[in-house]
């Protein structure tokens, strides 16, 4: 066993806390004694000098040859020190002769560097001092810290957990020390949230005694939980910019979700990060690649795709190649490669040529730049995770069917009573259609004359196009408006005695809108139209001078003027009629004015309706779907007046109409219909899915440097090559994507392991050791604990890239277990907590807040994998940005309570209940934590949060414990993992009391509040109590403590 593997072995044994291991390690570490390249007692080139040169000088004197001033580069030692005709930028040991020193210190505004007009900050005193020291001490050159191969530094104290040793060593230097351990319940809550995204259960808290044994057991239990795999997958999906839609143009839906499940399986199996990487880059190129390994490569197809009509697919394809490179840079290498698309890197040693050589690995994918379901190459993949979901939904459908049947029977009884009343009362007459006096106006000047029977005749000007606005006082007897009819009438005075006063006598109606204006309000409420039928429509294939798109009456329902209704080509001159049905009948209040807008904006023009008549109806269903003006109720009245019996056919039609107006029945029917539809969708998802994956073309494409990054500005040809400044491999060793993958996870690659452990640190501490997780380059932040980062990186490599091993290492440190309470002094001197003298305290990601609310309330479904689900979103959020092309229907049944990792992600409209989340357009590895009123509104009013509150309320209202204090402690244990203090109890009781008072006084309101999401109304006698407890539960879920790690 060589000493390096010995150390790795140590670290693993450390966790088992064997004294023997401690002793072994102390000796072996002593043998290792290697100084970190990033550590120096005095001035360090990579820490103190290089970042300054990079920030202030490299922009014009760096790797980018196209922007290089005076032929000088300061990023390469030979250039910086070369004789430039009697002087050099840097002369080691000699300040006077170093031109650089003169330029950064001169008062001469024309000579000073950086130049005043560059808007780069002048050097600070301490930066100058560092450069001075460095030049005087010999100007020793080195690499940027992250490009040196990490070697395992010796932990500063042999008898401490290595992580603590590094952290404490820095703290001691600053006069601080670690805080004491957090309270046991705080530790457990922190650990459970970090590893699973969910709180511990009250039982977990009760079982945890704070001992090291219990702690280690908890870590093992949590790491083995499927919840951990889901939590880790969420990290990876953000980095992978995973989405269920394309993101551009029509934002078409994709079928890549089996890859998401693949990711979860890898974390479940704790797949080595090495293999995890290789399979995602090149699973298809592995010998005898399995289906799963090919599936893995979907990672590099998760980019956005653009199928915009006018776009050159090749331009899109180049975009995708570029996206893969940039993603690889950010996610694995911590390099901001994006800028190198257009020019050599201004700061880091990566040239334009390096970039395109790297892109060559991705340039021969057998893709053609198309989008939607034409984005080959695909893997036809049948997911193993669908059948369970089908079974679950099928059983939910059964429940819904049974419920539906009961609801139908009781609605039918109500109907029979209604019918009975009608038969008994024998009404003499029934008016189906009402024709109030219209007030008509025109946007372009047409004049109108209203005749005695409310027919409107136009006269006066004949504009090419015109919008008519028809306002109708709703007649008093009408309680609701279910639809309206427009009769288009011929007239002898019209052209050819037909329908218009202009053109060829034929009319064209392009759009119809309906609104209601309430008395006293200046605004008009738009009403949604569900359907329209006409007595006759023009033949779309007719021979016409007009655009044939003008034919069908259904086209008047959209806002598109390029289509619409006409009866052109129908020879016979007779009145025509169109009947519109409202999506929901309008409930009339006195003084309501019904407004109908007839838009006539056809391409051909001169087709405005000459004569028309409008009527309103109140009956639902059939009545506003037929053109003859009759209705089932009218038929019933006639039948009764004729002394006939109601036959079965008429009874059926009457029942159908009645059910449409029965709210209780409709609610149940709607749920059943959604469930049936979602079951059908699921069955469809069980078929092979077309998952976008990688596959090489037979003949590789030539790769060019793209001048200024423009897709068709092809420069010189380049060959596949890895980044030489990161880890130089000969061309012969790096010829395929598989080679690229192996290069990335090569143990000599200085970046990958550091970047990976930094991500894990970020998961456990909210921030990485490098706080710019996507930039380990010169412009990124330096690590707060460089030697710890290196130690962990080496540990990762030597543990065969075992991610759980690193997570376990972190979790077993005192640094992780310490309290987050900070003294004012510590807060003032280290507000960003870079030293880690306290545990961090940070708000949970929005997805975790949602998942955890479902979890603590007992609603959460623990099903793993399967097709995307749709958590609640406010109505219309998809429709409004796509002008109605996409409609969002929340999942029903248990599917509603799945974890957010399974939620459908539409790129053009990210889930509204998430805030500060990655946007999944390009890869994201950082974290955002803002604090805005919109977040507050979301957590107060999102249906998921309310439903969780209701479920929590039910849990205590239904519990045996009737004592208020006990109930409050029960809720607190679930939501906060701790008991409340007397003071807190008093505060909550005050809210409970005022809520109880309010709801006792208005039980109906209580029922309304409690009936949320899929929750059924509470029994009336329990309603006020449930509503009051729901208020308290919602309050608890909105506590800072509940949405924060502790």
């Amino acid at each position: 066993m060589n000493s390096r593997t010995h150390v790795a072995a140590f670290a693993r044994r450390w966790i088992s806390h064997t004294a023997h291991a401690l002793a072994t390690v102390a000796t072996s570490l002593a043998l290792l004694a290697q100084a970190s390249v990033t550590h120096a007692d005095d001035v360090s080139f990579s820490r103190d000098v290089l970042p300054v040169l990079s920030d202030r000088c490299f922009h014009c004197h760096g790797p980018d040859e196209s922007n290089r001033e005076a032929g000088l580069r300061l990023d390469v030692e030979e250039h910086a020190k070369e004789d430039r005709g009697g002087y050099a930028a840097i002369v080691p040991g000699n300040l006077e002769d170093s031109e650089l020193w003169r330029r950064i210190t001169t008062d001469d505004e024309y000579e000073v560097m950086p130049p005043t007009d560059s808007h780069r900050k002048p050097l600070t005193e301490s930066e100058r001092a560092a450069i001075r020291e460095w030049i005087l001490s010999g100007a020793t050159w080195g690499k940027h810290w992250s490009l040196e191969v990490p070697t395992r530094p010796e932990p500063p104290a042999a008898d401490r957990h290595p992580i603590d040793a590094f952290i404490e060593s820095r703290l001691a230097g600053e006069g601080f020390s670690l805080s004491g351990r957090a309270a046991p319940h705080t530790q457990l809550k922190r650990l459970t949230l970090d590893l699973t995204g969910l709180s511990p259960t009250p039982q977990d808290v009760a079982d945890f005694d704070g001992s090291d044994q219990a702690w280690n057991d908890a870590i093992d239990r949590l790491l083995q939980s499927p919840r951990n795999a889901e939590r880790m997958a969420m990290w990876w999906l953000d980095a992978a910019r995973y989405s269920d839609s394309d993101g551009f143009q029509q934002d078409a839906t994709r079928q890549n979700w089996p890859w998401r499940d693949w990711v979860i399986r890898q974390f479940r199996d704790n797949k080595s990060f090495r293999d995890f990487t290789i399979e995602q880059f090149a699973g298809d190129l592995l010998p005898d690649a399995t289906e799963e390994q090919i599936l893995a490569t979907c990672f590099h197809r998760n980019h956005m795709t653009n199928g915009e009509g006018g776009r050159d697919p090749e331009e899109s394809r180049i975009d995708y190649v570029i996206d893969r490179i940039n993603t690889t840079g950010t996610v694995w290498l911590g390099l901001t490669l994006g800028c190198v698309q257009c020019h050599s890197h201004k700061f880091d040693p990566i040239s334009h040529q390096d970039y395109y050589s790297l892109s060559a690995f991705f340039n021969s994918i057998d893709e053609d730049g198309k989008a939607g379901m034409n984005a080959k190459p695909y893997l036809e993949y049948t997911s193993p995770h669908v059948q369970d979901r089908i079974d679950e939904m099928a059983s939910f459908v059964q429940q819904c069917e049974a419920e539906h049947e009961r609801a139908r029977q009781s609605a039918e009884r109500r109907f029979d009573d209604w019918l009975h009343d009608r038969v008994e009362s024998k009404p003499a007459d029934h008016q189906v259609w009402w024709t109030p006096t219209p007030g008509v106006s025109s946007s372009e000047g047409t004049l109108f004359r209203v005749e005695a029977d409310q027919t409107v005749q136009t006269h006066g000007p004949k504009p090419t196009q015109d919008d008519y606005r028809v306002a109708l006082e709703v007649p008093t007897p009408m309680e609701q408006v279910s639809g309206f009819r427009i009769e288009v009438l011929p007239d002898d005075a019209h052209v050819e005695k037909r329908f218009t006063r202009d053109g060829n006598g034929e009319f064209t109606l392009t759009s119809v809108l309906a609104m209601v204006r309430r008395q006293g309000s200046p605004s008009e409420i738009p009403l949604e139209l569900r359907s329209v039928v006409a007595d006759v429509e023009a033949d779309e294939k007719r021979d016409t001078k007009w655009d044939q798109r003008y034919a069908k009456v259904g086209k008047t329902l959209n806002d598109d003027a390029r289509d619409g209704w006409t009866t052109e080509g129908v020879e016979k001159i007779e009145p025509h009629v169109a009947v519109y049905q409202l999506a929901t009948p309008w409930q009339v209040r006195p003084g309501d004015q019904f407004v109908i807008l007839l838009r006539q904006r056809s391409t051909h023009g001169r087709a405005n309706i000459g004569r028309f008549k409008i009527a309103l109806a109140a009956e639902r269903g059939e009545t506003v779907r037929r053109v003859d003006g009759d209705s089932p109720i009218a038929e019933l009245v006639r039948t009764l007046n004729d002394g006939n019996q109601v036959d079965e056919a008429l009874r059926k039609r009457l029942l159908a109409q009645y059910l449409l107006g029965d709210a209780d029945y409709q609610a149940v029917a709607k749920k059943r219909d959604s469930a049936k539809k979602q079951l059908a969708d699921l069955k469809n998802q069980a078929k092979p899915r077309k998952v976008m994956v990688l596959a090489e073309r037979e003949k590789p494409r030539e790769t060019h440097i793209l001048v200024r990054g423009v897709w068709d500005a092809k420069g010189e040809t380049v060959q596949r090559a890895v980044l030489p400044s990161v880890l130089d491999w000969p061309a012969t060793q790096a010829t395929s994507r598989l080679d690229l993958a192996r290069w990335i996870v090569d143990s000599e690659n200085p970046l990958t392991a550091r970047v990976a452990v930094n991500h894990l640190w970020q998961i456990m501490f909210g921030q990485g050791l490098v706080r710019t997780p996507g930039d380990f380059g010169l412009q990124g932040e330096l690590p707060t604990h460089p030697r710890l980062l290196d130690w962990l990186a080496v540990e990762l490599i030597q543990s065969d890239w075992d991610l759980q091993h690193i997570l376990r290492l972190i979790a077993t440190s005192e640094t992780y277990r310490q309290s987050s309470v900070a003294s004012a002094e510590l807060l003032a001197s280290d507000p960003d907590n870079r030293l880690l003298a306290r545990a961090p305290r940070f708000r949970l990601p929005a997805w975790m807040i949602r998942d955890n609310a479902l979890h603590v309330s007992g609603l959460l479904s623990t099903a793993v994998g399967g097709p995307p689900v749709r958590p609640y979103q406010p109505e219309g959020v998809w429709a409004e940005i796509t002008m109605g092309r996409f409609d969002y229907q929340p999942s029903v049944g248990p599917a509603q309570y799945r974890r957010t990792v399974y939620a459908f992600w539409r790129r053009s409209s990210a889930p509204t209940f998430l805030f500060d989340s990655a946007q999944r357009r390009v890869c994201e590895v950082g974290v955002r934590r803002t604090n805005t009123p919109l977040h507050a509104l979301t957590l107060l009013n999102d249906v998921s949060m309310l439903e969780a509150s209701r479920a929590l309320a039910d849990a205590v209202v239904g519990a045996e414990d009737q004592v208020v204090d006990g109930r409050l402690q029960n809720l607190a244990m679930r939501v906060l993992s701790r008991e409340l203090s007397e003071e807190e109890l008093a505060e909550l009781k005050a809210v409970l009391d005022s809520a109880t008072e309010i709801y006792d006084g208005d039980p109906k309101m209580a029922v309304e509040y409690c009936t949320v999401g899929q929750q059924s109304p509470p029994r009336p006698e329990f309603a006020p109590q449930t509503a009051a407890w729901m208020t308290v539960a919602s309050l608890l879920l909105n506590l800072d403590e509940a949405m924060t790690r502790e």
Partner: protein, 475 residues
């Protein structure tokens, strides 16, 4: 002059005090978060002309040939092929690259309007009524030929999603003037037509800036802002009680942890509560006079219409919102200009003109910058058979027109010129990034010095390529 002085006065005091804690403390002492956030970034760089921006975004690419850029001589060339000397290898979209580029002359009549005699296409009669207040920039240029990248560029300065949009930069730099409303509000026209160009939320996204700067969409729905309304059956007084207890419990926890983030959270919950009244007050138009609705046109009575959103824009401006952005979709007229383009003109013409006139009569046009425009223009060649009524026009990036009005913009003026084909700019080109630089300038910001560090780079709205304030359109 004195007005500018007084505007600069207090800020200059803060600026001159230097970007040090003294100034920050002074600002804080004034109880003025706005000043504090500006001082932190050293903003404004100079006295602003505009306090706010109203950006009337016309998504899809309105046709400058039918509406603004009068080229009568094209009638003589109707149906002839566009000379290569004009096209100069300009890329075409996939929709027309395989058809001959035959010239379709403007199908509108142009009339002279106002004292300035601006020539405007007949489909925009109301715009004529404010011609003397408007500056037409006829020499706009972009480098993107497809919608999403071009709109992303138009709004964020870069063609790929991920950068903050203009409004976010304004919010980030200048902060809020109203504690009860967001700094950046977005209004989408409600339309029933499955559009091929969704209005992606990155158009108003904050990119790498803190997400509190992102545009907040004001919807014409039950919840004007997502999650604004308390649930049914939850009375306002109970919400108040609940928030009081919430704050008290949070303070209790703060005393134990000293985490300053908790105090912020308490404040944010309080602002959420205030928004629950300030937003409905804002969106309820019942206090608007009848003449307002007549001025903005009949559509203005219909919530969600562009016209109603124009009234809301004025109300937002009155309430101190920094950046107000309307989106009207469906200007992508590949065919049937006579019905398609006309319809979008009807939707937008009267309300856009009314908004400018309304701001003017209320004395707000002096410090409000209004911008009207889309992501690119349309080509001179007909798409489809040029002489058919079904003809339309394809995308065209090399020239398009936007108009601006208000704060510091030269009124009754036309800037820049295109060639005889409305194809290439021949005088005073204004790139999209120059438009950004100019608008920032009017807000008192030097675009070159207004940066945000992200991933080690100093990003700015105008990007890496050179951009200029267009002095020629400044009053």
């Amino acid at each position: 002059m004195s007005e500018i002085d007084s505007k600069l006065g207090r800020r200059a005091f803060l600026n001159q005090a230097g970007l040090n804690f003294g100034a920050l403390a002074a600002a804080a002492m004034l109880g003025d978060e706005l000043a504090a956030s500006q001082v932190e970034r050293g903003l404004p760089h100079f006295a602003p002309k505009a306090e706010r921006v109203i950006f009337l975004t016309q998504s899809g690419g309105p046709s400058q040939i039918e509406l603004f850029d009068y080229k009568p001589d094209l009638h003589k060339l109707a149906g002839t092929e566009l000379p290569d000397s004009v096209r100069q290898g300009q890329r075409l979209t996939g929709m027309t690259k395989n058809q001959k580029q035959l010239i379709l002359p403007p199908i509108t009549r142009f009339d002279a309007h106002g004292q300035c005699g601006a020539l405007i296409g007949e489909w925009l009669p109301h715009l004529g009524s404010i011609a003397d207040d408007v500056c037409f920039v006829k020499s706009m240029v972009t480098d993107q030929i497809n919608h999403a990248p071009a709109m992303t560029k138009f709004l964020t300065g870069h063609q790929l999603p991920g950068r903050p949009s203009f409004g976010c930069w304004a919010s980030y730099g200048l902060g809020s003037m109203n504690k009860n409303l967001p700094d950046y509000v977005v209004l989408l026209s409600r339309m029933k037509r499955g559009s091929d160009q969704p209005l992606y939320d990155h158009y108003w996204g904050s990119g790498f800036l803190p997400s509190k700067h992102q545009g907040v969409k004001l919807r014409s729905a039950k919840d004007p802002v997502l999650y604004l309304n308390d649930p049914d059956g939850f009375p306002r007084e109970l919400r108040r009680d609940m928030l009081d207890s919430l704050a008290s419990l949070n303070r209790h926890h703060h005393a134990q942890t000293l985490d300053p983030e908790i105090e912020t959270r308490i404040d944010q919950y309080e602002m959420a509560f205030r928004m629950q009244s300030s937003i409905p007050e804002l969106t309820d138009l019942s206090d608007e006079s009848e003449s307002t609705f007549q001025m903005y046109g009949p559509d203005s009575r219909r919530p969600g219409s562009y016209a109603a959103n124009c009234i809301l824009a004025r109300r937002l401006a009155e309430r101190g919102v920094r950046f107000i952005q309307l989106f009207h979709p469906d200007w992508d007229h590949h065919s049937r200009l006579r019905s398609w383009c006309v319809s979008r003109c009807i939707d937008t013409d009267q309300p856009s003109a009314a908004l400018v006139a309304d701001l003017k009569r209320r004395g707000m046009l002096d410090d409000t910058l209004v911008i009207w425009g889309g992501e690119f223009g349309r080509g001179v060649a007909g798409q489809g058979k040029w002489d058919s009524p079904l003809a339309g026009r394809d995308h065209h990036p090399r020239c398009f027109t936007v108009w601006m009005a208000g704060a510091g913009i030269k009124p009754g003026f036309s800037y820049g010129a295109t060639d005889d084909f409305s194809y290439n700019v021949v005088e005073n080109p204004v790139h999209v990034r120059d438009l950004h630089a100019t608008a920032l300038h009017l807000l008192g910001i030097d675009h070159d010095r207004f940066t945000h560090r992200h991933q080690g780079l100093d990003f700015k709205l105008t990007g890496v390529e050179e951009s200029h304030v267009v002095d020629g359109i400044l009053a």
